[in-house]
Amino acid sequence: MATETTRQRRELGAVALGIPLVLLAFIVFVVWVFPPLFELFWNGMEQLFNEHWLVSSSFLQHGFTAGVLIGFTAPVVGSYLVNRQMALIGEALAHTAFGGVAIGLFVGASIPVLNYPLLWALVVAAIAALGMQYIAVNTDGYADIPIAIMLTGGFAVGIAVISYGVVFSATVESYLFGDILFVPFENVQLMVGLTLLVGLVVGLTHKQLKFITFDREAARLARINVWLYDTLLIVLTALVVVAAMQILGAILVAGMLVIPVAAAMQVTNSFNRGMLISIVFGQIAVIGGILSSYYLGIATGPMIILVAIGIYLLAIVR
C-alpha cells in the first residue's frame, strides 16, 4: 500500500475527526432544517404557479425534489465512472440494491421496526460495492466479470426472497421500475442527506478521483492511496444508485449515471466543465422527463431516460 506524505496524513486525520461532526450537522439539517425549507419552497411555488396541480400535489413535490437531487448526484459520480469504463457498475449495484429492498420488505413485513426497505438497500448495495472492489483487486480477469456476477446475483436474491415471502407486487414494482408517486417524505429526507454526503466527499476528493481516473499509474507514483479512493468512489456510487432507484427503478438507474455524462463529453474538452454541463443536462432530463410524463401520461422513469437520450443525440449531431 502506497503511503502518503505526513501533511496529507494530518489532513486525513482532521477529516476523520470532522466526519462525526459533519454527519451530526447533516442529521440536524435533514431532520429539523430541511422540512420547513421544503414547505416554504413549495408554498412559494404554489403561489408562483397559481395553485397549479403540478406543484400543489404533495406526491409531485416529493417526486420533483427527489428528481432534482438525483439530477445532481448521478452525473457527478457518473463523470468518474464513465471515464474509468465502469459505466455499468451502477446497474450492477442497482440490482443488488433491489435485492436489499426485497430483503427489507420481507423482514419489515414481520418486524415493523425494521420496515425501511431503502435503508436495507443502502446497506446491501454498500456491502456489494465493497465486495466488488475486493473481487476486482484480488482476482485477475476482465472488469465486466464481477459486474455481470453482481448484476444477476443481486437480482436473483431479490426475486428469490420475493417469491418466498409475501410481498405486495405493487411495492416491488415501484422499486423495479421506479414510481415518482411513491416517494414518502422520509425518503426525500434520506436523499437530501445522501446528496449532502456525496457533495461533500466529491468536493473534498475531486482532485484525487480525477487524477486516478485519468492516470492510475501516475497517481500511484505520486503515492496517492489509489485503493482508498477506488473504494470511496464505489461506495458513493452505491449511495447514489439507492437514491435514484425510487424514481428511475433498479433497471433504469445506470442511464442517469451515464447518459448526461456522455452528452456533456460531446460538447466540451474539459473534465471539470464537462461535470458541470452533465449536471445541467441531468436537471433538464429530470424536470423535462417529469413534465412530459404528466402531459403524455407515460411512466416517469422511462421519460427521464428518453429525454436524456434526446439530449445526447442533440449533442452528437450538433
Binding site: T5, N83, K207, E217, A222, N269, F271
Partner: protein
C-alpha cells in the same frame, strides 16, 4: 554527489519467467542516464521497480536513501510512460487539467492556490505548450503530448524524471527539440532516467549509459560505454535467444 536511486541484487520474474536477474546499479543525483537494451530485456520493469511501482522478487531498492516501497514523497518523482492509456485518448481533459494533476499531491484535500496556478503556468511555459493549454490532450501530436506529461512532472516539482521511450511516434524533427528540453532540465539539476531504443540519439545526450538484457551488461560514462563493447554483447545474446519465446513486459 548524493544518490538518487540505489538498487542491489534485484531480480524479478513474470510467471516464473525471469525478466531481471541480479541487477545492481547506482544512479547519482543530477545524472542523465540512458538505459538501453533489446526488446523484452526488462527495461520497463526495471524502471518501475526503481520507482517503487513494482516490487522486486528479491533485492533492495532505495529512492533518495529510503526503501522505494516506503518512499512517500511521490511529488519528487515524474514518469512519462511509453503508451498512452485509454483515458488518455478518450477522456475529455484539457492539457492544463493534466498539468494541474502535478499539483494535486501537494494540495491534498485543499483547493489549488494562486501559487499552485503560477507553478502550473510556469511548467506549461517551460515545455512551450502554453498555447495548447485549453486543447484536449488527445488532440495534441505525440511530441506535444509527451511535453505535457513532462510539464506535469515539473508542476509536481519532481527532481527525478523517468521516461520510457518518450519519442516513439514523435516526428523526427521534433525529437531533437525534445532532447534539448531534457538536457536543459538536467542542467537545472533534475535527474533523468531515459529508456530509448535509438542508441545513436541517446548517446548524443546522455551523460551515462547502461545496457540491460535481463542482466546489466555495462553502466558507465557514455564515452566509455560506447568503447566497452557492451552493446554488441547484449544485442547478440538477444539474437541468440530470440528463437525462444520472447518474455513479455518489455
Amino acid at each position: 554527489m548524493k544518490t538518487a536511486i540505489d538498487i542491489e541484487n534485484v531480480s524479478f520474474a513474470y510467471n516464473e519467467q525471469p525478466v531481471i536477474r541480479n541487477v545492481s546499479m547506482t544512479i547519482e543525483s543530477g545524472d542523465f542516464l540512458g538505459l538501453i537494451g533489446p526488446n523484452g530485456s526488462g527495461k520497463t520493469t526495471l524502471l518501475k521497480i526503481m520507482l517503487g511501482l513494482q516490487l522486486p522478487d528479491s533485492g533492495s531498492v532505495e529512492l533518495f536513501g529510503t526503501p522505494a516501497n516506503e518512499f512517500a514523497e511521490g511529488t519528487r518523482l515524474g514518469y512519462v510512460s511509453q503508451h498512452s492509456t485509454d483515458a488518455d485518448s478518450m477522456m475529455r481533459v484539457t492539457v492544463r487539467e493534466v498539468v494541474e494533476m502535478g499539483r494535486y499531491p501537494h494540495a491534498g484535500l485543499r483547493r489549488l492556490t494562486d501559487k499552485d496556478h503560477q507553478i502550473i503556468d510556469d511548467a506549461l511555459k517551460t515545455v512551450e505548450i502554453e498555447e495548447y493549454a485549453d486543447r484536449r490532450i488527445s488532440n495534441l501530436s505525440g511530441g506535444q503530448r509527451q511535453r505535457a506529461y513532462i510539464a506535469r512532472a515539473l508542476a509536481s516539482e519532481a527532481d527525478l524524471l523517468a521516461l520510457d521511450e518518450p519519442t516513439v511516434g514523435v516526428d523526427a524533427d521534433v525529437v531533437d527539440q525534445f532532447y534539448e528540453l531534457l538536457t536543459e532540465l538536467n542542467a537545472e539539476g533534475i535527474t533523468i532516467v531515459l529508456i530509448e531504443h535509438d542508441i545513436a540519439k541517446v548517446s548524443e545526450y546522455a551523460e551515462t549509459m547502461a545496457c540491460l538484457d535481463g542482466e546489466l551488461y555495462e553502466h558507465s560514462a557514455t564515452s566509455e560505454f560506447l568503447k566497452s563493447g557492451a552493446l554488441e554483447r547484449a544485442f547478440s545474446s538477444a539474437r541468440a535467444v530470440s528463437s525462444r519465446s520472447v518474455t513479455r513486459g518489455d
